[in-house]
């Protein structure tokens, strides 16, 4: 275990963190898109509104994911 310096651990955790963050984003945005598709299929007249709301919600979810990515980047760069 001598190889496990703090730098090595930082890199390792940055990698893990990035992967987990992407899982979160993927699940969240995937469910969002699924609900949007279903809503659009049920009521084609509302497609425009649904699309706008979907984009907004997706941006907010990505915002949260990018918090985690920033932390990972800090770990990897410093």
């Amino acid at each position: 275990m001598e190889g496990m310096t703090s730098v090595a651990l930082a890199y390792l955790s940055a990698g893990f963190g990035a992967g987990l963050a992407v899982i979160g984003a993927g699940v969240g945005i995937g469910r969002l898109a699924g609900a949007a598709m279903e809503g659009s299929a049920r009521q084609p007249t509302a497609i425009g509104d649904i699309r706008t709301s979907m984009i907004i919600a997706a941006a907010l979810i990505e915002g949260a994911t990018l918090f985690a990515i920033v932390v990972c980047l800090l770990l990897a760069i410093k």
């Binding site: 993927g26 990505e62 915002g63 990018l66």
Partner: protein, 409 residues
């Protein structure tokens, strides 16, 4: 999609930082499909963006090629080159005529793709070469403690602001009842910000007071984001200081709106979080928590805008840097179309992030204004959406969500 690709970029740069030019990460296959789909859909617009993607590539190529010409240790690891491109600095790169030290140390004068303009020299700041701290100069105050020398991102902000003013003045030259041309286009956007963003979130009565700020924020951020996609320039919003400043403005305007409508006393009483006077012993807990809650929203605005902008650039640089990391020009066949796809995404993200920033600003302003009965629901909704595991506000979470926040997806 952006976090996926950013994770790819992160893994690539990690591999490179460990062993310069050593490890050979192969581009994962799942990235190619969505990016390829993006690239193929935009068949008509291929020419100009292809130019720009190659401009990026050439800038990176110029960077690598002139590695010796930088006069000083140029670390060849991909991670540091990427950071150099994304981070702030005092050197502005531009194509032009200048004297550059060639690879064999002989200075050659003429047209180069990567001339550097040193802002320190331009503004007369002397810098300590060892630590990089400013020593003296007309823009260095307090004996080196306050260094106001403009950096690359500051210059980009100036250019964006100048461009924005230019567009605005050009647009309103011919005021007509029926707008045409550039005036029409600008008016469409301003009307969009006013009707969809301001009125929906602030309400018809007070919207016009805050529309100037919202329109300014929207256009300024949009121009800064888009300007970063031009070859040889940098995204000013990819700098934490810039986004912090924008979020600070939103914060100030939000508090102004709240104090203006509720009075200072009302504002302070809202800081107790709705806990009645009879439970005054709860106040020492509630007030610091509420004050902290005041700051989470601008913080989220800051990091969201910053991270989105940095992510896009990082991924493009990582994909293009892969060509140099793997050392073979054949990689370019796969790498450049992917980078082109990401470029399209970035264009989209530039607009979306400007819109999101403005919409959330409007939402916060609107929630600060007193709409009797709805404001607590608004505030907690704002708390929730940050994903911030702040202290739960008790039972009021779900009740007001269906309230008047119609503009919120």
């Amino acid at each position: 999609m952006t976090p996926t690709l950013l994770a790819v970029a992160l893994s690539l740069s990690l591999a490179q930082a460990a062993k310069p030019g050593g490890a050979h990460p192969s581009p994962p296959p799942d990235v190619a499909t969505p990016a390829g789909g993006h690239g193929e859909v935009e068949a008509g617009g291929h020419d100009a963006p292809a130019h720009e993607a190659e401009g990026h590539g050439e800038a990176a190529a110029g960077e690598h090629g002139a590695a010796g010409a930088h006069g000083g240790g140029h670390d060849d690891s991909l991670g540091s080159v990427m950071m150099h491109h994304v981070a702030d600095g005092y050197l502005i790169e531009h194509p032009g005529v200048c004297t550059v030290k060639g690879r064999d140390g002989v200075p050659e004068h003429g047209f180069h793709w990567n001339c550097e303009l040193d802002l320190n020299g331009l503004f007369g700041t002397r810098r300590d070469p060892a630590t990089g701290k400013a020593l003296s100069g007309p823009l260095v105050f307090a004996g080196g403690k306050l260094d106001m020398t403009p950096t690359k991102h500051v210059v980009m902000m100036w250019i964006s602001a100048a461009l924005l003013l230019l567009v605005a003045f050009l647009a309103v030259r011919k005021k007509a009842l029926v707008p045409r041309g550039l005036y029409n286009f600008v008016e469409t956007l301003v009307a969009f910000v006013r009707n969809e963003i301001a009125v929906k979130n602030i309400g018809e009565k007070d919207a016009d007071r805050f529309v100037p700020y919202l329109v300014t924020a929207f256009f300024f951020i949009l121009f800064m984001n888009l300007f970063g996609l031009v070859p040889w320039s940098a995204t000013a919003t990819a700098n934490l200081s810039v986004t912090v400043a924008m979020a600070l403005f939103t914060f100030v305007v939000t508090q102004y709106a709240a104090i203006r409508s509720m009075g200072v006393g009302g504002f302070l009483s809202h800081l107790t979080g709705g806990v009645p006077k009879s439970l005054f012993w709860l106040w020492p807990i509630m007030i610091p928590v509420e004050i902290l809650g005041l700051f989470t929203k601008p913080f989220a605005l800051t990091v969201r805008l910053f991270a989105n902008m940095v992510a896009g650039h990082f991924v493009i640089l990582a994909l293009l840097g892969l060509i140099f990391a793997l050392g073979s020009p054949l990689v370019a066949v796969a790498s450049v179309p992917m980078a082109l796809g990401i470029f399209m995404l970035e264009l989209f993200v530039a607009f979306v992030q400007a819109y999101i920033f403005t919409m959330l600003s409007a939402l916060f302003i609107g929630s600060g204004l007193v709409h009797h009965g709805g404001d607590h629901g608004h505030e907690e909704h704002g708390h929730e959406e940050q994903g911030h595991a702040g202290p739960g506000m008790g039972s009021e979470h779900g009740s007001h969500v269906a309230g008047a926040s119609s503009g919120h997806g």
